[in-house]
Amino acid sequence: MAAPPVLSITGLTKTYASGLQALKPVDLQISKGEIFALLGPNGAGKTTLISIVCGIVTPSGGKVLVDGCDIIEDYRGARQKIGLVPQELTTDAFETVLATVTFSRGLFGKAPNPAHIEKVLRSLSLWDKRNSKIMTLSGGMKRRVLIAKALSHEPEILFLDEPTAGVDVELRRDMWALVRELRDQGVTIILTTHYIEEAEEMADRVGVISKGELILVEDKTTLMQKLGKKQLTLNLQEPLEALPEGLSEWPLELAAEGHEIRYVFDANAERTGVPSLLRRLADLGIGFKDLNTTQSSLEDIFVSLVHEEGRAA
């Protein structure tokens, strides 16, 4: 990381009044112009982390610097640089699209700039709808309005909290295109998501958060290799009591009382070992009725990561 961090989080903790510890000490540095994806199951602390940086939740401890501005002592400096697209579709109902986006720009202390507002609305295909009341828009359109509001004041850092949850394919593609365009303009983007596809498509780096702990921060390519594991399951015609000698080259597992053979392999590897395994089975006269392969899901990765954490502790 050559660029200086545009976001620096040190020892950030949050314990809610209810006693729930939402964040254990979290440290994270994000470079300027980076696209960072924060992955994690529901309730892991993704939104809490974002909310603290944006000023919606008060931290219990630790320090956050946004481009050198402390989020508490110099909240104006910090917040001016940030645009936030929340997870929930929280919009006004009776205002027009143009009015609400113009409002956001003013609220963030920027002089009126109708040309910029028009550009933002056009880039989100909202220009034709600018005089519509927000409540008449579809869910996807409301999501676009929220993005337009966040971009109205030309932020340097954009937070997208679950940007594509419940969003149709077209909007998802538009959003990805927009994110790339923003990155080309030098905007740093931090997004949370459930979808590995999304992280794969967009992110430079990925962080995994679980139970308030940032358990992994890695380059996307490294993580993708870990996620590249696949499992092949063969349903046998006749159950086996034990795996024959001839199959000892593969790390196989016998399951379902000898009715299934399972083989975990690396889908990204040049040689997966699958074709040769199938040939060997044919040679040995072991027939199978059906076969399927499953990709290890993000959920599996979480589970194994969390288990590892548990063992290490």
């Binding site: 009044a17 944006c54 929340p86 929930e88």
Partner: protein, 255 residues
């Protein structure tokens, strides 16, 4: 940036736009209500009432009527203005914006106070149709109107932050402010009460507000003008103190 003027203006305009969308009900309702009060109290009952301190009854109730609307509308406008974003969740934007507590209050309370001052003037104009009105101290009257509108808008802002349901939002205006206003000499001089009740009434802060406002019309009130100003100023400072505390602790705004 040491003062986010654009931010204040954005909030102010947003709040004013909300009123302008419902401009019909914002103006017609108070005009009709005022007209009704004058038909009932001014003409029907007032014709059988004697003058109070040399003022015809119909004219006497005008300051009290304006105050009644000013209190309830200031509270309603300001409390609804801050409660609604809390209810819908759009408050996230306010909390994440580079606006200081002072700027937020200026925007919301400024807009709420503007609306109720305009409303007060509309009621005054309506009243002038029904009764001959003379205002001895017009500048003092305007100043008092603004001061009380601001004070009760601040109070409304506090209620809006405190309320967690629409019922709670209505609770204080309905159960406390309206009774105190009715019992605070809106429609009578407290000299007309039996001595015991007169003493009890003096503990009602609203008496001092209405009395002070009435003084600007007729040159006399139930209590001395100084006490009226002290009561208004005291309430204003109390509200400012509570709001400062709200923002320092994040009470019901932030977790």
């Amino acid at each position: 940036m040491s003062f986010n003027g654009y931010g204040v203006w954005a909030i102010y305009r947003f709040e004013m736009a909300r009123a302008l969308r419902t401009v019909w009900q914002s103006i017609v309702t108070p005009v009709i209500t005022t007209a009704l009060y004058f038909v009932v109290f001014g003409s029907a009952i007032g014709s059988r009432m004697t003058e109070i301190d040399g003022t015809a009854y119909g004219a006497f109730i005008v300051p009290g009527l304006i105050m009644l609307s000013l209190f309830t509308q200031s509270i309603f406008n300001a409390s609804f203005g801050i409660y609604f974003p809390k209810f819908t969740g759009t408050i996230y934007e306010m909390l994440s914006a580079p606006v200081s507590p002072l700027e937020i209050v200026l925007g919301y309370v400024g807009a709420a106070a503007t609306k109720s001052v305009v409303l007060g003037l509309i009621i005054l104009a309506t009243a002038a149709f029904f009764v001959p009105l003379q205002i001895l101290h017009p500048m003092a009257m305007l100043a008092m109107l603004v001061l009380i509108a601001v004070t009760f808008s601040l109070f409304g802002f506090i209620i809006g932050v405190w309320a967690q349901s629409f019922e709670q939002l209505q609770f204080i205006p309905m159960l406390i402010v309206t009774p105190l206003t009715f019992l605070g000499g809106s429609f009578y001089s407290i000299d007309m009460l039996p001595p015991v009740w007169r003493t009890i009434t003096l503990f009602n802060p609203v008496v001092y507000l209405i009395s002070g406002f009435r003084w600007t019309f007729f040159g006399q009130g139930d209590v001395s003008l100084v006490w009226s100003l002290v009561a208004t100023g005291g309430f204003l400072l109390t509200c400012l103190g509570v709001i400062a505390w709200i923002f320092r602790t994040g009470y019901r705004l932030k977790t």
